[in-house]
């Protein structure tokens, strides 16, 4: 009976939602759009892990470099793959040379035919780039004829820049480093996987919770859109005999209809969002729409939870509203909000996190359920505490100007509504502050400071031994934007031809270049120097014995063969004090001026060129890369940066920023809808106030105060909760607690900016609603 009555009342509410004329429809649509946006974001966010997994799978399927010691023998099923990766305007370009060695040579995924030398197949994004004016510089580096495109199965993202070109004479270079011989692409490892450490897993968990909790709050707010109008309609039902319980269930039925339609909208928004996500790239990561698939279990959970939550939220929201017949809705004087159970939520959260304090990254994994539960409870605690705080504070606010009085009185009457409006932002800001603290705290663990001296060089290029270093240096000198070139040939020498007991490094360069690495007493071509004070160098003083024969590029027992060029330490060997070189190290070993090096030793050394650049020249890095590609197409010049960040750390941080941007935009939209709804409810009153001479400025200011007061309180509370959560998370990771005030201010500032933007956007409708038309009744 009870179930039947419930379903009958809910069904009646759902029917009213769709048959209630324009007003009913607009309410259902408003709810559906709100719920739909939330559901779409929920689905998109939860699809991210599957998208990243799909990217990994694709990357694995085309993996070619095994970095294994085992050499694959040539066969009719082998293919030689040369790695010709490059970078173009800070975007990675994946490049491979392919040379099949037999009829059964495997094709990489997404490629139907091996390109001939001088030809290439490219990813759609690279094709577009090369055909546009923006790709002109890159075209010089990959001048091959485009004969096809790489299919989706061969790419990890829709915006990936990649190409395969035909290679020739790769066999001689098949060393496993730059050129590999393989029989199957899926055997390759894309990179050695070291797994995520517990702190990174903690970060990912917290990022998800912090992003999804405001979305859930937004959905809860969306099912309450248009509540006041609905209450008036429900009063009419009371008049014809519906009791108060029935009325509430009918209201819940209306919300149920809106949320059900919202699920449909959400699915549609998700599909649209998936297509859009497939055409954009965030911080170097792009995906194909087909990657974004939330797990069926999760989708089913959303499909069930959202309508149930809509019913529960409506019943909860109506518990204090007394709907009476005769069209009168009396909101009973709100009962005093109780604090004790509101405090239980954050305290419960802290209690769940407490056992993991001081665990750090070296003491096993964090319990993900306790972490998720604890963070959720702390953040939900914000939503529970905020109405109490708003009530407590506004009750004590005195009356000032008319605009202030109007705002304060409005807040005193319906502080809960105001708090609800701000809840989403407060939770998002609290979570973001905590995460920023955690990021700043663990940053030192995941960001390695670069030792390189950027004032002396900004790029480093390796020149293969077969290429004369002087001519390479000359080419870089002629490159536009290059201010200075320091070129060294580098290698090793030892005390024996094979398996030396003592060994030391060798660097060859002109006097100017050598002065960059050591304080030379004097220098002219023909001089050799033994370095003193080098880091980790104990052998040089023992080897620097006049008349002793040493061997440049010695061989080793494990099969590594060297040129083994004999060299006698000259009598005129000079001593020089090592100084920090541009790479940030104090090198040891021997320094040779060019004519002091035995002629045969040249091929045993590898060139290193350090470049000082004029950063005001546009695309200077790519001009250098083009020159480097002409010298050695396998070379990938290094751009020096001030710090080297762990990739995993970097992508989590990226995820947070992208997610936070989406969540704040969503909450901003919900705030705007609520604000407009409130204004529409008060259209006649606003017109009446203007009729008896109220200045528009007064009313605009009152709207601003009405938003600013709860927002200020919300941001203050979120700062406290955020700092608490941040402290707890840092203690969990065993990192010294320090508050990054800049991030606290920037996060609260962003939250405040969203509200200000919403207020500004609601001003035009406010001014429109103040027109006297509102007084017309006929």
């Amino acid at each position: 009976m009870r179930v039947r009555q419930w379903s009958r009342d809910l069904g009646m509410g759902a029917k009213f939602a769709f048959t209630g004329g324009r007003e009913g429809w607009s309410r259902v649509l408003l709810t559906a759009v709100g719920v739909g946006l939330g559901v779409a974001l929920l689905l998109l966010t939860t699809a991210i892990p599957s998208a990243l997994a799909a990217r990994d799978d694709r990357a694995h399927a085309r993996g070619d470099f095994t970095y294994s010691e085992m050499k694959t023998p040539k066969g009719d099923n082998t293919v030689l793959v040369g790695k010709v990766d490059t970078t173009y305007r800070q975007r990675d370009v994946r490049g491979r040379e392919l040379q099949p060695e037999g009829v059964r040579a495997p094709l990489p995924p997404g490629v139907t035919k091996f390109p001939e030398p001088g030809e290439m197949v490219v990813s759609p994004a690279l094709k577009e780039l090369l055909e546009s004016g923006d790709g002109k510089l890159l075209r010089e580096r990959v001048p091959y004829r485009v004969v096809g495109t790489i299919g989706e199965s061969g790419l990890i993202g829709s915006q990936e820049l990649a190409y395969y070109t035909g290679g020739k004479q790769l066999a001689s270079k098949a060393d496993g480093g730059r050129v590999a011989r393989i029989t199957d692409f899926s055997e390759g490892e894309t990179y050695p996987s070291d797994g995520l450490d517990p702190v990174l897993i903690l970060l990912i968990l917290v990022v998800f919770v912090v992003l999804l909790t405001p979305v859930a709050i937004f959905i809860a707010a969306a099912v309450r859109f248009g509540g006041e109008r609905r209450d008036r309609r429900l009063a009419a039902l009371r008049l014809v005999g519906s009791d108060s319980h029935m009325t509430r269930r009918i209201a819940a039925g209306e919300a149920l209809a809106g949320s059900a339609l919202g699920l449909v909208f959400g699915a549609a928004f998700f599909l649209v969002g998936r297509e859009i996500a497939g055409s954009v790239e965030f911080f170097g990561v792009s995906v194909f729409p087909s990657y974004l698939n939330p797990s069926p279990a999760l989708a089913a959970l959303v499909a069930v939870t959202v309508p149930v939550a809509a019913v529960l939220v409506t019943l909860f929201a109506l518990r204090r509203v007394v709907i009476e017949p005769l069209g009168v809705v009396r909101t009973a004087k709100p009962a005093r909000r109780r604090l004790w159970w509101r405090l239980l939520l954050p305290l419960g959260g802290l209690a769940m996190l407490y056992p993991m304090m001081g665990q750090g990254k070296n003491n096993g994994e964090f319990n993900e359920y306790l972490v998720t539960g604890g963070v959720v409870l702390l953040l939900i605690g914000v939503t529970a505490l905020l109405p109490w705080i708003v009530d407590a504070v506004v009750a004590r606010l005195g009356s000032g100007s008319v605009s202030w009085q109007l705002a304060v009185r409005r807040l005193q009457l319906s502080g809960g509504t105001a708090a609800r409006m701000v809840n989403g932002i407060a939770v998002a800001v609290a979570g973001a502050i905590a995460l920023q603290m955690l990021f700043s705290g663990v940053q030192s663990q995941y960001t390695e400071p670069s030792p390189q001296d950027l004032s002396r060089a900004q790029m480093q290029v390796t020149v293969p031994s077969a290429t004369p270093l002087a001519s390479a240096a000359e080419q870089f000198t002629r490159t536009k934007g290059v201010r200075d070139v320091m070129a060294f040939s580098e290698g090793w020498l030892g005390d024996r031809r094979k398996d030396p007991n003592r060994s030391s490094s060798v660097a060859v360069g002109d006097c100017a270049a050598l002065r960059e690495v050591a304080a030379l007493p004097s220098c002219r071509d023909g001089d050799v120097f033994a370095l003193q004070g080098g880091e980790y160098d104990t052998d040089t003083p023992k080897l620097a014995d006049s008349g002793r024969t040493l061997y440049i590029d010695p061989g080793y027992d494990d099969g590594e063969r060297g040129k083994q060029v004999a060299w006698t330490v000259p009598r005129a060997l000079k001593q020089a004090e090592s100084r920090t070189d541009p790479t940030g190290t104090k090198r040891g070993g021997f320094l040779f001026t060019p004519s002091a090096l035995p002629a045969k030793a040249g091929p045993a050394l590898r060139g290193q060129v350090y470049l000082k650049l004029d950063s005001s020249v546009p695309d200077v890095y790519d001009l250098v890369r083009n020159t480097a590609a002409k010298i050695d197409r396998y070379g990938d010049p290094m751009v020096w940066t001030s710090g080297e960040r762990s990739d995993a750390y970097s992508s989590i941080r990226t995820g947070l920023f992208v997610g936070a941007a989406c969540v704040l935009a969503l909450i901003g939209a919900s705030l705007l809808v609520s604000q407009l709804e409130q204004l529409r409810e008060r259209k006649r009153l606003l017109s009446a106030l203007v009729a008896f001479g109220t200045r528009r400025r007064t009313l605009s200011l009152s709207v601003l105060w009405q938003t600013a007061v709860p927002v200020g309180l919300g941001l203050a509370l979120s700062a406290v909760v955020g700092l608490t959560l941040g402290t707890v998370l840092l203690k969990m990771t065993d990192v010294p607690v320090s508050v990054d005030w800049a991030s606290v201010l920037s996060m609260t500032g962003i939250g405040a900016l969203v509200v200000l933007a919403v207020t500004l956007l609601s001003l035009p409708p406010l001014l429109r609603m103040m027109r006297p038309d509102g007084l017309r009744t006929e």
């Binding site: 909101t331 005193q412 319906s414 001479g693």
Partner: protein
């Protein structure tokens, strides 16, 4: 053209909302302390006439003289100032601000004029006493009856000692008993303050409280006293 001694007078007023002519050459005048009822069927243009006379909406053409000053050419700010200081308003549904208490609602026009809160609420209370609603001072509009709310609205309209009180169907939402009481109090208070009252109504028993009646039909007005 303007009747001698008229406080507020309108001549050849025209106002259209889209294709509908709400006012089509309407005439109007009122003297200090006079109560004039504007009558007519629904949609005849009587509320539009009130809105034009009060400077809430500007007419498309015609002239409105208040105390010898042409209102049609006044800026919006000037007209707003006039409404704050010289006019008072009562609407069909009171239009009290729901979040303010009754005394704060009555004091609101004074506060908008720059009077201090204490002084404004003291004056408001004295008007509430005259309208027999001083017991409701701390209550909010949601906690009082429709008749009580309308009396609070009358107090709010008179608190600035306006020279003209505009009342648009002030008893439209009340039962006859409450409606009569509100009208008695409204006209008594207005007469004692020598305020002119423009009373828009379609009920003859409400119009009976007036000194003169003007009937509006299809946007045109007729002064019943002159016909009589």
């Amino acid at each position: 053209m303007t009747p001698a001694g008229a406080l507020l007078a309108a001549h050849d007023l025209r106002k259209a909302y889209g294709p509908t002519n709400a006012l089509d050459g309407a005439e109007f005048s009122i003297h200090p302390g006079e109560v004039v009822a504007v009558m007519g069927p629904s949609g005849s243009g009587k509320s539009t006439l009130l809105h034009c006379l009060a400077g809430i909406v500007p007419p498309d053409s015609g002239s409105i003289l208040y105390n010898g000053h042409e209102m049609a050419t006044m800026s919006d700010a000037r007209r707003s100032a006039l409404r704050r200081s010289e006019f008072g308003f009562v609407f069909q549904f009171g239009q009290l601000v729901p979040e303010l208490t009754c005394v704060e609602n009555v004091a609101l026009p004074l506060r908008l004029n720059g009077t201090s809160r204490k002084e404004a609420e003291r004056t408001a209370l004295s008007w509430m006493e005259r309208l027999e609603v001083d017991g409701l001072r701390g209550k909010r509009p949601g906690e009082i009856s429709g008749g009580q709310g309308q009396r609070v609205a009358v107090a709010r309209a008179l608190v600035t000692n306006p020279r003209v009180l505009f009342a648009d169907e002030p008893t439209g939402a009340l039962d006859s008993l409450n409606g009569e009481r509100v009208m008695e109090l409204l006209t008594e208070a207005a007469r004692s303050a020598n305020a002119a009252v423009v009373l828009v109504t379609h009920e003859a028993r409400v119009a009976a409280y007036s000194d003169r009646e003007i009937v509006v039909r299809d946007g045109k007005s007729r002064d019943m006293e002159r016909i009589v």
